[in-house]
């Protein structure tokens, strides 16, 4: 099926921004800290997606040299630079997630809850 309106409407941007907002929504509105971390991963991946979709070229192939195509015409290959950026950023994102999870584990051990409101309540209780 052909959905022409999609081409006109710059749909990738709309969807990527929607995904980004879902991630941010998870980070700001959700009270559970694990949910916040999930929201963080969604937020980050949406940025990667933005890079990757910007790297595409109509009618191009993956950025691995194909002897049949040669390397003279840059329009034949996808743009490798954003992909490299995403690779780097992706690993950074996972590293952040891992550290976030360790912090979660530690604070759950100390306070026994992941709920933000409850956590603050217990912190106050212990402080006094």
């Amino acid at each position: 099926m052909t959905v022409e309106f999609i081409e006109i409407a710059r749909y990738p941007y709309i969807l990527i921004v929607a995904l980004l907002l879902v991630g941010l929504y998870g980070m700001t509105v959700k009270r559970n800290l694990l949910k916040k971390v999930i929201g963080m991963t969604i937020f980050q991946t949406s940025i990667y997606l933005l890079f990757i979709q910007g790297a595409t070229k109509q009618g191009a192939t993956i950025p691995v040299l194909d002897p049949a195509l040669g390397n003279e015409d840059p329009t034949l290959y996808m743009n490798p630079l954003p992909q490299v950026i995403v690779l780097t950023a992706l690993v950074v994102g996972v590293a952040i997630t891992a550290v976030a999870l360790s912090l979660l584990v530690l604070l759950y051990r100390r306070y026994g809850t992941l709920d933000e409101v409850e956590l603050l309540r217990r912190m106050k209780e212990q402080a006094s």
């Binding site: 990738p12 910007g54 490798p80 630079l81």
Partner: protein, 112 residues
């Protein structure tokens, strides 16, 4: 609070979409990104380093420092997790234990 954050999110989304109006169309071969420096990588990766996979060439050579930084990020993350989660106790003779001290001899978790 909840309502306010959602309103704020909507504003952020609107702003981003407004800005994306001037970004190139999806898959446009004439976009700045596609005609910019990336053409150099596509055309020269194989000449410069015998590497057909342009991503690898860019990753490890042209922008090798990013990758080095990223490698450090991974190591730093490992280090951070250890610093956050583990404590090292002094043994009674005053010497220090290894990184995973309390677990020596215990079951692999040591925790429930």
């Amino acid at each position: 609070m909840r309502f306010a954050s959602i309103l704020l999110l909507a504003a952020v989304g609107g702003f981003l979409l407004w800005g994306s109006g001037d970004l190139p169309q999806r898959g446009d071969p004439e976009s700045p990104a596609s005609t910019g420096i990336s053409t150099y990588y596509i055309q020269n990766a194989y000449h410069d380093s015998d590497t057909p996979n342009m991503v690898t060439a860019v990753l490890a050579d042209y922008r090798g420092f990013d990758t080095f930084g990223e490698a450090v990020v991974v190591t730093a993350a490992a280090l951070s997790c250890l610093v956050i989660l583990l404590r090292r106790r002094r043994r009674e003779d005053g010497s220090e234990t290894g990184v995973f001290p309390d677990l020596d001899g215990d079951a692999p978790g040591g925790a429930a």
